[in-house]
Symmetry: C2
């Protein structure tokens, strides 16, 4: 059994505890061992009465606990967690952190101290998107030519609203704050600093480049007006806050700023609070990773994946990634029982009563019609196009075979499922 201690049991920490409890069976199948959260550290003991784990206010209760195998750091900040992580590593604890700030400043020192001890940080960039996994492992054969990403959901939410609904900056900031997407002091997000921390982490993995936030170009989205939005629309652009790392000979440029991006680019299609990161490798070409960049459960998904990685390491995982059946009793659904909405195309003789006859057949099979269009296809013929509500494969196939033999139906009915 592997025991985890969580330093900082807020929204993400609670989700880590809940995933390890509620998804315990599938996690032990994948990790090859049982993982439990033994204890947590909180700022205020009064707020955590409902937690199922031991809690204290002293991180060293976890760091010095000989039973704890993995320390999860979710407290945020720079120097305090740096000291705590160093102590954890010195005590031989494996570390998982979601803290981008401590990594933006101290990642190389932490790598040096960690040495052979596992240190994982997937959740520090783009929340639930396994972008570090992709960059460090999936694309490891490539020289990385560029990384270009929407790494801050707050800014992307605001810019999407400004572009699509014409809302002014101040109004959309108010809305983001009301929805909990932006802090009371929004500078860290809208000034580009949050994205810069993430960019620095990715640039280290891609290029081994060492830089601090102060050394790179960081601008935010303050100051964008309706005049800029109008210009962007007129010329086929959208506006995004991008973190960009790009190779240029022996130089690597790192920058975070508002950007006019062609509407046709994949990165331009990422809207709202979602994050998306495009990575271009010299061999693979462009790949893109999209998903939720924040939120307790999404971030905790990455934290727990790192915990599973650490538990797996040392032993060889089975080829398909699980040790015993993922879930007892899970089985393939009979294809006839699959439910879908359907689009049906019929070519029919254009005569009175045909539509009534055909729609009666739909009713006989309890298939409810959402929309129907009749279009002339040639002399005396018409296309009947139907969209249905949910139905089973079995009922639709039976309907189609009965439609096919009608005299008025001139060719085999054609069907496309609506997803």
């Amino acid at each position: 059994m592997i025991r985890v201690g969580v330093i900082g049991v807020g929204t993400v920490g609670r989700a880590v505890v809940s995933i390890l409890e509620e998804n315990a069976s599938i996690i032990s199948a994948r990790a090859g061992d049982t993982i439990i959260v033994k204890s947590g550290v909180v700022r205020n003991l009064d707020k955590v009465r409902d937690l199922s784990i031991l809690v204290s206010q002293d991180p060293y209760d976890i760091i010095n606990d000989p039973e704890i195998d993995i320390v999860v750091e979710l407290m945020g900040g720079i120097e305090t967690p740096f000291e705590i992580l160093k102590s954890a590593l010195k005590n031989g604890k494996a570390v998982v952190t979601a803290n981008k700030a401590v990594l933006a400043y101290h990642r190389y020192e932490l790598q040096e101290i960690a040495g052979e001890i596992p240190f994982e940080f997937e959740a520090s960039v783009a929340g639930g998107i396994p972008i570090i996994n992709a960059l460090r492992d999936g694309l490891s054969a490539n020289h990385i030519l560029s990384i270009m990403g929407i790494m801050n959901g707050t800014c992307n939410f605001m810019l999407t609203k400004m572009m699509k609904e014409g809302v002014a900056f101040d109004a959309v900031l108010d809305e983001a704050q009301a929805l909990g997407y932006a802090e009371a002091d929004p500078t860290f997000d809208i000034g580009g600093f949050d994205a810069a921390h993430k960019l620095l982490i990715l640039a280290s993995i891609a290029y081994g480049i060492d830089a601090k936030p102060e050394e790179i170009l960081i601008e935010g989205i303050e100051g964008i007006t309706q005049a800029d939005i109008a210009f962007a629309k007129e010329f086929g652009y959208t506006i995004k806050l991008l973190g960009i790392a790009a190779r240029d000979g022996a130089e690597v440029e790192l920058r975070v700023h508002a950007s006019l991006v062609r509407e046709s680019a994949m990165i331009a299609k990422i809207d709202g609070v979602m994050n998306g990161i495009s990575v271009v490798g010299d061999r693979v070409g462009e790949t893109l990773y999209y998903g939720p960049g924040a939120g307790g459960n999404a971030t905790a998904s990455a934290v727990v994946a790192n915990i599973i990685d650490i538990v797996r390491s040392g032993k060889r995982s089975p080829m398909l990634g699980f040790n015993h059946p993922l879930e007892e009793g899970l089985h393939l659904k009979n294809r006839d029982d699959i439910c879908s909405k359907y689009y049906l195309r019929l070519r029919v003789l254009d005569k009175p009563g045909i539509l009534a006859k055909i729609t009666q057949l739909f009713a006989d099979h309890s298939i409810s019609i959402e929309a129907v269009i009749q279009r002339p296809s040639e002399t005396e013929c018409a296309h009947l196009l139907f969209a249905t509500h949910e139905a089973t494969e079995r009922s639709v196939r039976e309907l189609m075979s009965q439609l096919e033999v009608l005299d008025a139906v001139l060719e085999t009915p054609y069907m496309i499922r609506i997803v």
Copy 2:
């Protein structure tokens, strides 16, 4: 030093050899060891005179070579490679394969035989996209609710042409064949079978479900007509060939078919030969992975990533993923030297001569103007909106500071970079 043998040196195999040679330095930094291709197996020895590796026509020359550590299988097919892979595993060789067909039929037997021996297959699904990496490792904390993907570039190329350019099915198939995207006998691609093989592999990792292609719903894109395209457009859909795995209670449904997908869905935005796979986890929500699903270099990128994984396994990789500097001499570019195109917004007094004065300043800094728009903003005032060609940060900042002090310029100039 790690020695690799490649069985099947065609387009992908040649790219594997070339990546391991040309990216050797970055690969050894990431893998912690030197990796070379010692030998290859080809069908026709006459066609490979230009290869830098030993070649033979007998796979067992590689499988029985005690110096070979990793066998890469790129021959395709089902039963022949199955026998070869079994023999390689019995000889203790680690295996990397890009062969989806052998996995669609024999993945559980291969997992059983492999046991503790590394067996990797990232390239078998969606080419260069590290989707297996994401599903097996990055999302391991999640119950997977659904997988929905464009897993066949040939079909997606054809459907995109049909939707966007109104080209008929037969004409676009001819074009796909001429471009080398479709085989002379295109049934395997356009009938949905290629996508089904990939879906079965992903479903095994997500659900541990065992099924053969014959047991699941597989339909292709033959039969889609202009009437269907018109219907889709009218109702805000696009048409995609999707592979779908979805959890429904204790049942998993697996299906491949043409699908009407809402234009606003991320998966609908994936066009041309590109692949994209959306995965919904119970905790992370939706994540999506996009990239090239085929091509020698993209597929080889995944094969080599697997080779690096195998070389790394057993020892602990450093936190940032590399052992010695990734590249000597690589350094951060000075932020003033960064080049970009720029959009500039000026609010100016609307008087004769202002535009001439301002554009002269652009010329003085050798900043070339691509477009300019003048719009009245209020009485006697106007917005001047410029788009420039490439310029350095330094020159644009100097220009902006000189513009700012002009009497006719009424507020601090604002700039957004064009990416």
